[in-house]
């Protein structure tokens, strides 16, 4: 079905995160709402990390992508904070995209492995290259606000993790 709404979603799926080019903003669960009205297209996006320098670029890329498919509709792109973006919004395709870039989807539990009780999990983050859980976290901070740094003792590769933003009870309303 070739509706404008369909084309808008396809256009959004073509906008990558500039710092994670293997994932689109749809894969990362950043698109909260799309409204197609008579003469406007409105999109609400959830920023992943508040300090993400890619946020402004993403806003501009979304504007440009929507203008291309918008049939002359006015385009409005907003960043909103309700609901808060959490890592469980990342889709299966998004997880695959992260792994392809050497970034472990941090919140995934290795089968039969330990259950994380702290965000500062020292060990057990699955390696995106070989899948081993025999890994150590080197730092809870990395090259961007959304990443942590790790080392895999099985395949001897350094890798990164995507910082978990769990859906905390206090923030679910």
């Amino acid at each position: 079905m070739d509706t404008l709404e369909r084309r808008v979603w396809d256009a959004l799926a073509s906008v990558p995160d500039p710092e994670i080019p293997t994932c689109s903003i749809v894969d990362l669960g950043m698109v909260e709402q799309v409204n197609v009205n008579e003469d406007t297209v409105e999109v609400d996006l959830l920023p992943t990390f508040v300090g993400c320098p890619a946020k402004d670029v993403i806003g501009e890329d979304v504007q440009a992508a929507l203008r291309r498919v918008g049939d002359g509709h006015a385009v409005r792109v907003r960043f909103v904070y309700d609901p808060p973006w959490t890592t469980d919004r990342i889709t299966e395709a998004g997880r695959a995209g992260l792994r392809a870039l050497g970034i472990s989807p941090h919140w995934e539990q290795p089968a039969g492995g330990p259950v994380a009780v702290s965000l500062m999990r020292e060990a057990g983050t699955p390696c995106p290259y070989c899948g081993s859980a025999d890994t150590v976290r080197e730092a809870a901070f990395g090259p961007t606000p959304c990443r942590t740094t790790h080392f895999c003792r099985a395949c001897r590769n350094p890798f990164e993790g995507f910082k978990e933003k769990p859906r905390l009870p206090s923030t679910t309303r």
Binding site: P47, F49, V50, D82, P84, L119, M120, A140, F141, T149
Partner: protein
């Protein structure tokens, strides 16, 4: 694009002198003061954290402090965006286009990093305090603030974990490391208490439901929290054995002049809890009064904005 010989090629035009700020005073609004208190704390301590970039004791900590600084500045920006409609000023202008006496951060945020012991002490004390106050604001009646803080708190968890992990690591390490931390705590604890200095307009904010709890109540929770942690590593003596923050200077008549900055906050242990029994050190920040440490920081932080007003990149 013309090829540049080097990133450090001389600018083709001389850099203009940074101009002084000339702007009408901000509206007198309790919500604005609250937002600026929260945002300025994050901006100014973030600026201090960023000074570790390239200089931290090891690479992971270089990344950690740079990353925490980036988060704190972003949190400040989000809060300045909320303040924009009240202040009638753009978030960039709010962040970098105010006179020094219009900044509402607590004095502790502007203090230089000193050494690693002070840095860790301050980061831990600050992020525990930030957690207490933003936790209390989860039930604010102001929806936009609640949404913003919901997102901010998810990221602050990492700062808090970092501060706690390093506090314990240094406190339980050898004599030198522990002494440095204790020295840092002695300097930082009294001024950290002033993070809970009453915000001007607090009564109105409490009756509107913008604030759920008053500053004294939040201070009590924070003190109880850090008191137990300090006891667990036998460093609780820093709560009562504060370092002198200045010197007593006898006047010509031989009397010792009492000065505000010499006040040492009273902390006592009562019924198994550490409690505040009066007095503060390093207050005034919420009213725009700052120490001599803020002048140079303000000059550096705002230089580009003042030299090129309205610049964007």
């Amino acid at each position: 694009m013309p090829e540049r010989e080097s990133y450090f090629a001389p600018a083709s035009e001389p850099v203009p002198e940074a101009a002084p700020i000339e702007a009408p005073p901000l509206p007198d609004d309790a919500r604005l003061v609250l937002l600026l208190s929260l945002a300025d704390d994050e901006l100014v301590i973030g600026h201090r954290h960023s000074e570790w970039t390239g200089w931290a004791p090891h690479l992971e900590e270089d990344l950690a402090f740079s990353s925490i600084a980036q988060d704190e500045m972003a949190h400040a920006r989000l809060l300045y965006e909320l303040a924009e409609p009240i202040a009638g000023r753009d978030p960039n202008v709010l962040a970098l286009g105010r006179k020094p006496e219009e900044y509402r951060h607590a004095v502790i945020c502007e203090r230089p990093n000193r050494d690693w012991g002070y840095t860790i002490a301050r980061q831990w004390l600050y992020d525990e305090a930030d957690d207490v106050r933003t936790g209390a604001l989860e039930s604010t009646s102001w929806k936009e603030l609640r949404d913003a803080l919901g997102v901010i708190r998810m990221e602050e968890r990492y700062h808090l974990d970092h501060g706690r992990a390093w506090f314990r690591r240094v406190a339980e390490d050898g004599v030198t490391a522990r002494d440095r931390l204790a020295g840092g705590l002695e300097l930082a604890v009294p001024e950290a208490m002033a993070l809970f200095e009453t915000v001007p307009g607090e009564e109105a904010l409490l009756s509107d439901g913008v604030l759920a709890r008053g500053s004294a109540d939040l201070l009590a929770e924070w003190l109880d929290r850090i008191g137990s942690d300090l006891e667990s590593v036998s460093l609780d003596y820093v709560l009562t054995g504060h370092a002198r923050l200045g010197e007593f200077v006898p006047t010509s008549s031989g009397e010792v002049e009492e000065r505000d900055e010499l006040t040492v906050p009273g902390v006592e242990r009562r019924d198994g809890k550490w409690v505040h029994v009066g007095g503060f050190a390093g207050t005034g920040g919420r009213h725009g009064r700052h120490s001599d440490d803020f002048g140079p920081l303000w000059k550096e932080m705002t230089a580009l904005h003042r030299a090129f007003p309205g610049a964007s990149w």
